[in-house]
């Protein structure tokens, strides 16, 4: 299959205008004749559903939480990028574009990234108009902070709760549409399958999580904005119920899965404390504005941290990357933390930690300023660890956090399945092999407010969508398959709980396909996962029934998909014989331990097609063609 990314012609700067100027349009009074299904209410889904409702489409919107306001976007802390250049520090659309491409280690599609940088300024305007309480200067203008991988200050923030405030903005816009009846909201409804009719995405099958009822919904287009799959690692910074089921089910129905091995390990998370641990907590990257990262120079350092003098501390990021220092990008910072711990210099239990130290910033700026900037994060740290970070440095360690991979989409954010659109973290489009901080919120809102509402219109206006309803055989078949699957999960009546399998899968992925991967480790993973998956289906113990509120069943169903996805993740990592961004193959590194790309052979998007259970997936390549920029070795030194 040839992948057509449908990138518009003309110079990079004009591509988006070019595309918009030549889109087919649905006239205003005809919009109400179309129904768009939007799965997800995070920044991408919430913004898209609200905007589509405003345009006059009928929207059916789904989420698994009890309210759309609780989508995982709510947890984002640090901020959102926007190329406003309010600081007069030389920022521009081009610079944001270039930083993002470089941050992604030259593995993202140029045209998409340029558009992202271009609309970033509209996002800030939109959110400010909605009343998002961004940080402000005394004169009343908007304030900025710095984030990793950039040398300008372009990150807008609402204290340490930026995601919350942006999501509430989108949620409020969404509720306004719910009130008018333009959007119908289905909370606590989980999508379990995608339905195709005549090769087009026409609907979904969902489970009502309160009653267990399986139900079908039909529309003229389907949009998946269902977030990332970092929970495949079990321990991650994602919310407990984040899952891959929506995009994985779509993948099994024909949508290509792109770059699954591009996963992001975030450098600053609270270290794990025990085997009962249910998730890891992120300490926002914004802390690296004022916190300094270090480890003792001596192995087995016994002195209390405040008695280790300056000369015995290694501020390794400042030492290795003098021009970016503590704001080196995430993949680089995580890897360096891992190296220090591998060298036996790590701090805290098990030597799995490094210090993030605020003492100098507190001395320089005063505790009040630090409290104003990061108060809620400091409180959270203290609640979890019982240590006061105003007095002792935080201990941090990398954790699975974000997934750059996702369903393959073209320039219009449509997958290879006509009528199936994918937005936000669920698609692969903008971050290449590594995402820069404060860019996921930007991408979610860019997709949701400014791209999807237009491109879906073009698809609908292009015609060819036949009348159908949910009595169509395709729906009935999908419903039957789901019922069989749920019965199988409930019927195994084995010995082990879902969590015990999920943890084991997560450990395999973390050990063999985490911060560092090698041919051997990946081959090991690819032998272990299928065996465990097979056992899962036979020896699983899920209590209760399917016609009921049953949280174990929900989880069992999600973990079943993580197994299949995990295998593809490792297969992709094995196939990519180079290191780039978050994908670090130990065989491919420079003498000083940096990722070594192989542009001649691997400057492509790996888009995998599902061929059936226990079948080898099929690889499709989309070559990455750069018109504007030169591929360069990424350096933050």
């Amino acid at each position: 299959m040839a992948l057509d990314s449908r990138i518009p012609g003309g110079p990079l700067e004009n591509k988006w205008s070019e595309r918009k100027d030549h889109m087919k349009m649905v006239n205003p009074s005809n919009k109400r004749k179309y129904t768009v299904i939007v799965v997800g209410t995070g920044l991408a889904g919430g913004a898209a559903a609200a905007s589509l409702g405003e345009l006059g489409y009928n929207v059916l919107n789904f989420c698994y939480q009890d309210s759309p306001r609780r989508a995982h976007s709510i947890a984002a802390q640090g901020g959102i990028n926007g190329a406003k250049n309010y600081q007069n520090d030389g920022d521009s659309v081009y610079r944001l574009f270039y930083d993002t491409i470089k941050g992604g280690d030259f593995r993202a599609r140029e045209a998409n990234v340029y558009r992202l940088a271009e609309v970033s300024v509209n996002i800030i305007d939109q959110c400010a108009a909605q009343g998002v309480p961004f940080g402000r200067e005394y004169g009343g203008t908007l304030a900025n902070r710095s984030f990793g991988g950039a040398q300008v200050s372009r990150t807008f923030y609402a204290r340490g709760q930026t995601g919350q405030q942006l999501l509430l903005g989108a949620y409020q816009a969404l509720e306004r549409q719910v009130a008018t009846g333009q959007v119908k909201m289905y909370s606590r409804h989980e999508m379990l399958d995608l339905v195709l009719i005549d090769g087009r995405a026409r609907g979904i099958v969902v489970r009502n999580l309160e009653t267990g009822k399986i139900q079908s919904f039909i529309g003229d287009a389907v949009m998946l904005c269902t977030g990332g799959y970092a929970n495949a690692f079990y321990l991650s910074t994602n919310a407990k119920n984040c899952n891959t089921s929506a995009i994985w089910r779509a993948h099994r129905r024909g949508a290509l899965f792109a770059n699954p091995c591009y996963t992001q390990i975030h450098p600053t998370c609270i270290p794990k404390s025990g085997d009962y641990q249910s998730k890891l907590t992120l300490m926002s990257e914004s802390l690296r504005n004022d916190g300094r990262i270090w480890v003792p120079k001596k192995k087995g350092e016994q002195r209390p941290v405040d008695q280790i003098p300056e000369e015995d501390r290694d501020y390794y990021l400042e030492r290795i990357y003098p021009s970016y220092g503590n704001l080196a990008p995430r993949d680089v910072s995580s890897r360096q933390a891992k190296y220090r711990c591998d060298e036996g210099l790590g701090v805290g239990p098990g030597g799995l930690g490094v210090y993030l130290d605020f003492s100098e910033a507190i001395k320089r700026l005063g505790q009040n300023v630090i409290a104003e900037r990061y108060g809620n994060l400091f409180e959270m740290y203290e609640r979890i660890t019982g240590e006061n970070p105003y007095q002792v440095p935080m201990r941090i360690y990398p954790a699975a956090h974000y997934t750059m991979g996702g369903l393959w989409v073209d320039y219009d954010l449509m997958s290879n399945v006509p009528g199936l659109f994918v937005g936000g973290e669920a698609n692969f489009s903008d971050h290449g092999a590594n995402r820069l901080g404060a860019s996921a919120l930007m991408q979610g809102l860019a997709d949701g407010y400014f791209v999807l509402p237009l491109t879906v219109g073009d698809y609908l206006a292009s015609g060819g969508i036949k009348k159908a309803d949910t009595s169509h055989a395709a729906f009935k078949d999908a419903e039957r398959e789901i019922n069989t699957r749920l019965d199988k999960l409930l019927g195994a009546k084995g010995k082990r709980t879902v969590d015990s399998y999920w943890r084991e899968l997560g450990t395999i992925l973390w050990d063999e396909c985490g911060m560092a991967r090698s041919k051997e480790s990946l081959q090991r993973a690819l032998t272990k996962i299928p065996v465990l998956r097979e056992e899962y289906w036979k020896n699983l113990k899920v209590p209760g029934s399917g016609n009921d509120f049953n949280q174990e069943l929900e989880k069992a169903n999600r973990v079943a998909d993580f197994f299949e996805l995990g295998e593809l993740l490792c297969a992709d990592a094995l196939d990519r014989n180079e290191s780039c961004g978050g994908h670090f193959r130990t065989e491919y590194q420079t003498p000083d331990g940096e990722a070594k790309r192989n542009d001649a052979e691997y400057a492509y998007v790996a888009a995998w097609g599902w061929k059936g259970e226990n079948q080898k997936p099929e690889l499709h390549k989309e070559p990455l063609v750069y018109e504007k920029i030169q591929l360069a070795t990424r350096s933050y030194k």
Binding site: R70, A129, R159, Y276, Q277, G386
Partner: protein, 264 residues
């Protein structure tokens, strides 16, 4: 129940078990072993693993982010919404605040407007409907002016942020002897009402949202302050008099439409 090898402390839990909305429900006693590094919800995870292994039905409780921000979690521990430490969600409550031998009673939010779905899980859709009634600034995507053309004094922005920090968990309602949702509703009214962007709809918003709050069956507010004490978003009681002031003004403006033309 077996001590499950997680060490340290042994606790006795009396937990509200209710199969569904029509089941009358009852307390059931469990023994669980925990250690001080666990979060409260991790302790319940451990309990559930034991229950499942023994072939019993695990306890239903809501949670998602487990970082204190999504508002999904929440139940009452020994009479206190989100537990005894106050100012944080139950997912942020750690076992080091408890000691060996403690007896704890766990029950769901109790309020007419929050029907119980199962065990500790309730339906909070009423809060969404209050937002639907007017908890937004009507601005269409794409119609926004340049962000810095709207200057917002830092002080207003700070007040807005502090009110907007509400996570919508419903603890305020659970804490209130009248099951009032005033802290929730007035937090949103304050957030939007102190910002220049929120002025055009300021008085219709307060009337519509207040009417909806009453229609949902939440109680009235007698300013007892129990809500503020348990609020994990640290929303201050101050938002309630702010809302009341707007409500009176809004009601007057409604009776005298000429006054409305004058805006805020």
């Amino acid at each position: 129940m077996s001590a499950n090898g997680h060490g340290g402390m042994k606790l006795t839990l009396d937990i509200w078990r209710q199969k569904n909305a029509s089941d009358p429900g009852r307390f059931v006693r469990y023994q669980v072993a925990a250690n001080e590094h666990m979060s409260f919800l991790e302790m319940l995870d451990v309990l559930n693993q034991d229950l499942i292994t023994k072939g019993e039905e695990p306890l239903a409780f809501d949670s998602d982010c487990r970082e204190g921000i999504c508002g999904m979690c929440g139940f009452v521990i020994n009479g206190s919404p989100h537990g005894p430490t106050h100012g944080a969600t139950v997912c942020q409550l750690h076992m080091r605040f408890f000691k060996d031998g403690d007896s704890l009673t766990l029950e769901p939010w109790r309020a007419k407007a929050f029907p119980i779905l199962k065990d500790l899980v309730v339906n909070r859709a009423a809060l969404d409907r209050i937002i639907q009634a007017g908890g937004y600034i009507s601005t269409r995507t794409g119609s926004a002016p340049e962000a810095n053309s709207i200057l917002v004094p830092k002080e207003s922005s700070d007040i807005a942020m502090e009110a907007a920090a509400c996570i919508g968990c419903g603890a305020c309602v659970a804490a209130c002897p009248n099951a009032s949702a005033h802290l929730f509703t007035s937090a949103k009214i304050t957030h939007l009402g102190v910002l220049p962007q929120g002025q055009p709809e300021r008085y219709t918003r307060v009337l519509d949202m207040m009417n909806q709050t009453t229609a949902e069956g939440f109680g009235h507010c007698t300013l007892m302050g129990e809500c503020e004490a348990v609020c994990p978003g640290h929303v201050s009681l101050e938002v309630i008099p702010r809302m009341n002031a707007d409500f009176f003004k809004g009601s007057l403006k409604k009776r005298d439409p000429k006054a409305v033309a004058g805006g805020a």
